[in-house]
């Protein structure tokens, strides 16, 4: 068994909502092995987005430990954690989250700036990845000039920019029609299959979960089921 790339150990996350405390995650443990394709499923309010924030090192647990490549993220200096986020992880968000004042190429180049990639290489890489996601002739367009599907493909390209080990996608097809959504999922699957990258996708759509090899069900901040394969999941439901 290879060392997990992301490991959560008895993770609790408590939010203070006015006077009441809300436990978004309650003693959740999880290991994501390199090369896995994991779908995290759950209804809204189940804690799946909180879980994704933990996996993506965007947030710290209230209690428990999160390890990224064997390192406790709370013990990492901020700058190193930021470097890790940019280099090891690639994010895809439901609402694309492109920077509106940058064109497609500049958006894809941005994570490379933070990794100190030289300008010429940045340009070349951004063009290559945008071509890969089928946006060769949209390179210089602003996000406002692109359709939803095109924007999400720019976001995919941005997530691939630093050649990360893990792609973390939060409802990547949530804002797209089914046809475009399918295209996005195929691109992700392709990336996983051809390059062996680890995928973590949060979704509430069981059709999307079909692409995954492992499905994790989450309810009230706890894992209720952890299915080895998608087929097993479908069988059981």
């Amino acid at each position: 068994m290879p060392e997990p790339i992301i490991k959560l150990e008895d993770v609790w996350k408590t939010y203070q909502l006015g006077k009441t405390e809300v436990n978004a995650l309650r003693g959740l443990s999880l290991e994501i092995t390199p090369g896995a394709f994991v779908a995290i499923m759950g209804s809204s309010g189940s804690g799946k987005s909180t879980l994704l924030n933990m996996i993506g090192c965007l947030d710290f647990p209230t209690k428990g430990k999160v390890y990224l490549k064997g390192k406790d993220i709370e013990k990492m200096p901020e700058s190193q954690l930021a470097q890790f986020r940019g280099k090891i992880l690639g994010f895809v968000f439901q609402e694309f989250n492109l920077l509106p004042n940058l064109n497609a190429q500049q958006n894809v180049m941005l994570p490379m700036i933070f990794q100190k990639v030289a300008l010429a290489e940045r340009k070349e890489r951004a063009e290559r990845i945008l071509e890969m996601v089928g946006l060769k002739d949209r390179i210089l367009h602003q996000p406002s000039e692109l359709s939803g599907g095109e924007r999400q493909r720019v976001a995919l390209a941005r997530a691939f920019a630093n050649d990360p080990e893990v792609i973390i996608a939060d409802e990547p097809t949530g804002n797209l029609d089914s046809k475009t959504g399918k295209m996005i999922m195929e691109t992700l699957t392709d990336f996983h299959k051809k390059q062996g990258k680890t995928m973590v996708v949060v979704t509430h759509d069981s059709k999307i979960a079909e692409y995954a090899e492992q499905i994790i069900n989450i309810e009230d901040g706890q894992i209720t089921k952890n299915h080895g394969t998608a087929k097993e999941y479908l069988w059981n439901n």
């Binding site: 470097q83 933070f114 941005r158």
Partner: protein
Amino acid sequence: MEQLKEYFNISLRNIRTRALRSWLTILGIVIGVFLIISLLSLSEGLKSTINQQLQSLGGEMVMVMPGGDDDIMSAMMFGGSNLQKEDIEAIKKTDGVEQVLSMSYTGTVARYKNEAKNTAICGYDPWKEGLELLSFFQGWSLSGGRWPSKSNEILIGSQLATDIFSKKLTPGSEMVIKGKKFIVAGILNSLGNKQDDSMVYMDMEIYQNITGEKPGTAMYAMAKLIEGADENVVAEDIEKSLKETRKRRSGTDEDDFSVITSEKMGEIANTILGVIQFVIIAFASVAIVVGGIGIMNTMFTSVKERTKEIGIMKAIGATNSAVLQIFLFESGILGFIGGIGGTLLGSALAKGIELYGQVHPLFYFSASITPGLIAFGLLFSFGVGCLAGFFPARTAAKLKPVEALRRFE
């Protein structure tokens, strides 16, 4: 370094995206720096002009004027009791004094070609030697005509010749002052201020004759010292002998005169200018602080608006220091551009006033725009920008990525 350039470019792009607001923020700094640069260069210029004029007075002159020592300003403006004949004699007899030039002036009506205007007339005693002294030490020179040789001949200032009467006065023109006819013998070049340039200059004897001032007295006296004499020592001696003559005359030794060396005059002028400069800097500082608050406000708004953007940048690998630098650059650039604008406008205004002063003899001075002042303006505004941007930038840098991302626009 390479990284800083990247962040700088990102900052520039952010500024361009919010062009209107950026320009308005910059305008706040422009006004502040404009005030500082124009006022400082003008007051510096004023200082050097006054110092130049004082220097032209010569280091070997001592002035005696009516009015107490502690009240020089009002004595200069309103005058006091005249110096008496024995006072002037006492000054002449003081060791170290080579020559004494006494002087009086008053306002009166002068007529030229059926036109009557208010003007000032001034008498000098001795007249002929006095003119030599004045041309040598105060730089009097003629722009036309000749030095007067007869008692009914007068000299006039450059402005009186051209600006006061509707018709120009030329050498040989006839003027009537207090019912007496005078011939303009010569016209002086500008003496550096409007007051001196619109005067009529004549022999003290004639002056006292037409004004009714007691002969032998005078408002002021200028003592030219023997070469090598210490002006401070002579000034003290003059003061002492003046006190004695007054004691003999009135029985009191109350000081109602002041003895001023050119050095002391410079000190007085510098004190006054120092106060003026202080006030100027205080006012300009208020302007720049307001400009700085403008930058801070813009940057805080910008951080609020771009919270999500900051979250995205952090999620894709931006460190706290990267975010801090991007925002600091942004506010620094706003300040710096404001500084350039303010410095340009401020220098232009100062230069404009200087040019106006050159064509117009009303006031004459040079604006002092030094490279130091320009560098100060630019660095200062950049500094104000960075300082004002520091807190907003830190707020931005400290945002947690997850919280920043959660906020929707």
